[in-house]
């Protein structure tokens, strides 16, 4: 882990009409650190993720990312071109539904290679070798490189989506309920895979989840959101084993195996 955070947000707020979706949310994230954002549906988790990832402009507050070459940059003040470049180089975004993050009409290899091609890679052989490498990294058979994601199971699609994001070796990955659409047995495998990748690649990640078990296995730190506000933060074992806020206690008490 390095000495400075790579992402910091201060005073984030967002309203949808009369409803307050996010209020006074601040956080810092370091390289190699996984932060789980937990809370019920409607707690503002996904809104927070969208604001952090530059996909939704907050009504107030700032989000800054420490870029490789230009130091701190305000995510919402940078040009769309600059943000898009960031999105396909240093960032990844794993959607809950793999279909939202994949191109379902092209092969697995093309899905993985797209970021490289968008960055100007023009050697077919190299792009294909990279795609095969990352397919193996997500524990998929390289022989399936030319298959369409339509032929894949939900778990495989999710792994493909992850490979597609990792091919440029991002430093920060946003994940929106990455396991919740999957069967329990498939979930365990995916969590384990993510855990290994995050550690091996020293990724920073923000994982939005309502599954405390997933948070326990993946995250170093946790942030509990309720009605758009942070009610508790701490190391994952602190929040889950010694919850302070009434809402966190209720959340932990009602989970099957946190």
């Amino acid at each position: 882990m390095s000495e400075a955070p790579i992402l910091r947000a201060a005073g984030l707020a967002k309203r949808f009409g009369a409803r307050l979706a996010l209020a006074e949310v601040s956080l810092e994230l370091w390289e190699g650190e996984v932060l789980a954002v937990v809370g019920e549906s409607g707690s503002g988790k996904s809104t927070l993720l969208a604001c952090l990832a530059g996909r939704m402009a907050p009504d107030a507050g700032t989000v800054e990312f420490r870029t490789r070459h230009e130091g701190w940059r305000d995510v919402h003040a940078m040009s769309e071109a600059a943000r898009r470049l960031l999105e396909r180089t240093d960032w990844g975004f794993v959607h809950q539904r793999p279909e939202d993050g994949l191109r379902m009409t092209v092969s697995a290899g093309a899905n993985i290679g797209e970021r490289l091609m968008a960055l100007g890679a023009r050697r077919y052989g190299w792009i294909r070798a990279q795609a095969a490498h990352w397919l193996a990294q997500v524990e998929m058979d390289a022989a399936r490189l030319d298959e369409s994601p339509l032929a894949f199971s939900g778990g495989m699609r999710q792994r493909l989506q992850i490979a597609r994001n990792l091919v440029t070796r991002p430093r920060l990955v946003f994940m929106d309920e990455p396991t919740s659409g999957l069967d329990v047995s498939v979930q365990a495998r995916l969590v384990d895979l993510l855990r290994g990748l995050v550690r091996r690649l020293s990724l920073a990640a923000i994982v939005v989840t309502h599954d405390l078990g997933v948070a326990r296995l993946l995250a170093h730190r946790m942030m509990v959101l309720k009605d758009g506000r942070v009610v508790e933060t701490g190391l994952t074992d602190q929040v889950l084993d010694d919850p302070h806020h009434p809402y966190t206690q209720q959340l932990v008490a009602s989970a099957l195996a946190p």
């Binding site: 769309e80 071109a81 898009r84 396909r88 191109r103 009409t105 092209v106 092969s107 290899g109 093309a110 290679g113 797209e114 970021r115 490289l116 091609m117 968008a118 960055l119 023009r122 050697r123 077919y124 052989g125 792009i127 294909r128 490189l145 030319d146």
Partner: protein
């Protein structure tokens, strides 16, 4: 003059009088010309325009006809081709349409034409300065099949974010071992905009590069006009290890013996007999005439 011929002459004059020159009204033509000027100023950029109803269905060349109507003048000589041929139904009808509504001269000779409206081909005869080629375009957006949201493709154009187009070519190679896209092969114009060259064979793509003629593209149904001005760089996409290549034939044209033109395959009998002939009928006829003269 017989009574019948006199009647026909009167009818023809009356028909022309019922139309404005070249069918469209002057306001519409001005609107289209403004779009064309903008398209010329931003090579490869798709300029929206308010396409009018034409007296034939969308998809039959309405975009090309509106562009032709907007740029053509009384002194112009028009050539219309469809699949390289001047004598197909669509080409004949469009040519007759402008004869009737503008009273202009028409030709089948590429070298004689000042305006060439085309579907599916660029003539083999090298184009010259002062000529205008008008392309009929069914789908102006090269990424439409891969990214159906127009809001998204427009943003990709704005940001020159064209990785997706290589995805398509990658798919070709992964599936067939080579780039099989043979028509409407995507190009980058002037180093900036990704452009669909309309469904011409990729054989014709090199003719777009640094052409002395003005190339105008009209999509009536999609209401877009774009352009490649004279002497503009037009680069066909490819990979370093799978570069852009044009089609080649083993055979020569069965009629004129040409080995450098785009050939159509013609089935001659039901026993598998076939031969190849030039798709550009004017080119083929001119070569034969020259051979006869010798």
């Amino acid at each position: 003059m017989s009574a019948r011929a006199a009647l026909a002459a009167v009818r023809a004059a009356g028909e022309r009088a019922r139309y404005n020159f070249a069918y469209l009204d002057e306001r519409t033509k001005r609107m289209i010309r403004r779009a064309i000027l903008k398209a010329v100023a931003i090579p490869g950029y798709q300029v929206p325009f308010a396409a009018r109803e034409m007296p034939l269905p969308w998809g039959w060349g309405t975009g090309g006809m509106q562009v032709t109507a907007a740029v053509i003048g009384p002194q112009d000589v028009l050539k219309v081709i469809d699949q390289g041929a001047d004598d197909t139904v669509n080409a004949v009808n469009i040519r007759r349409f402008f004869e009737r509504t503008a009273g202009i001269a028409t030709t089948e000779r590429t070298a004689h034409a000042t305006v060439i409206q085309t579907r599916h081909r660029i003539p083999e005869t090298p184009l010259a300065e002062g000529q205008i080629v008008v392309f009929q375009v069914p789908v102006p957006e090269p990424m439409q099949r891969l990214e159906p949201r127009e809001s998204e493709t427009r943003r990709m154009h704005a940001l020159a974010d064209y990785g997706l187009m290589h995805v398509k070519l990658y798919e070709d190679i992964a599936r067939y071992g080579r780039i099989v896209t043979a028509y409407d092969y995507p190009v980058i114009v002037n180093g900036r905009y990704l452009m669909a060259p309309s469904p011409i064979p990729k054989f014709d793509n090199p003719k777009l590069h640094m052409s002395p003629a003005l190339m105008l593209f009209g999509a009536g149904r999609e209401k877009r006009i774009y352009a490649v001005p004279p002497y503009t760089r037009v680069e066909s996409l490819g990979f370093e290890d799978h570069p852009f290549e044009v089609q080649r034939w083993q055979a020569a044209c069965a009629l004129c013996g040409s080995r450098e033109s785009f050939l159509d395959e013609v089935v001659t009998d039901d026993r598998g007999g076939r031969l190849y002939v030039c798709s550009d009928t004017d080119w083929c006829a001119a070569r034969r005439a020259r051979a006869d003269a010798r």
